[in-house]
Amino acid sequence: MKTHHVQVGTVSRELPIVEVAPGVSVALFNMLGDTEVTEAAGKALAQLIPADVDILVTPEVKALSLAHVISRESGKPYIVIRKTQKPYMVDPVVREVVSITTGKPQTLVLDGFDVDKIRGHKVAIVDDVVSSGGTLHSISQIIQEVGGEVAAVIAVFTEGQERPEVTALGHLPLFT
């Protein structure tokens, strides 16, 4: 299998190159189940969060443990935006957002309990990989709707095009 070499702090990995659409392959980066990479990336990214950020917001699922580590290291709280509504949520904010990548509607759910933690606060969005920016766009939208300000975007890698608005530890190419 072809692989792509990446370095996260002192940890290196060979990412498998996987075809995701005809003629387009990506280096597959999955932090779930990789404790070492999650710790290394989380500790490095915690240093890069602007001091005036109040709260971290992350989409489920793959970046969840990363957000936990950044939160633990920086002392800034984190909340998770879910992709399905849960029966225990209180007055959830549910938004159908059309993905700018796939054109398909995507549901984002913010527990009503978390709205006050965002409203009037500076937010850093945390994700594992920012590629097309589709998820980022949708999450920014819901944060702004409930009155928060997106002050930073933090990711382990950007992918495809360079994204100056994203603070990342590295960049992944697309393989075509």
Partner: protein, 171 residues
């Protein structure tokens, strides 16, 4: 509820018409997650060389357990992802949602369980249905189930379960 030096008032959620159950959240609570992991790490059964868990609430907890114990972990998903290769699939009847769920273990992750002593880790184990499904996945992946570990036991299960504290089943 108090674990180590950390206390939390757990919210409760109505289940059907029979009453309310307490709800434990690790997501968004690193302080509580760390306190629970610090005590749970001593309960990991001897001989464990891999932890197996399932999305979503247990993720920060299993990460901390792995970091503290040095034992790697694998996560099972509840949805098929496009990048999965030859995933192993099992169905599990869910008590919380009242509908069957399907668990997906990506092929390369299944390969990490082969020949390993695997401990199933969850945040809460109630009937044990999900834990048994994780055990089936372990065996199909060629691993051996070394034990079941949960932060909280809620109600009765026939599984030989290591756990920190018991939660009331109904309030």
């Amino acid at each position: 509820m108090t674990v180590g030096a950390v206390s939390r008032d757990l919210p409760t959620v109505r289940v059907g018409s029979t009453g309310r159950v307490p709800l434990v959240e690790f997501i968004g609570d690193p302080e509580f997650t760390n306190a629970v992991a610090a005590e749970m790490v001593a309960l990991i059964p001897a001989g464990t060389d891999m932890l197996l868990s399932v999305v979503t609430n247990a993720l920060p907890l299993v990460h901390e357990l792995s970091d503290r114990s040095g034992i790697p972990y694998v996560v099972v998903r509840k949805k098929r992802r496009t990048y999965m290769q030859d995933p192993l699939i099992v169905d599990v009847p869910s008590m919380t949602m009242g509908v069957a769920e399907t668990l997906w273990l990506d092929g390369p992750h299944a390969a990490r369980l082969k020949g390993k002593q695997v401990t199933v880790v969850q945040d809460v184990i109630a009937s044990g249905g999900t834990a048994q499904a994780l055990a089936r996945l372990t065996e199909r992946a060629g691993g051996t189930v070394n034990g079941f570990l949960a932060a909280f036991k809620q109600g009765e299960t026939s599984l030989p379960l290591h756990f920190l504290q018991e939660l009331p089943k109904r309030i």
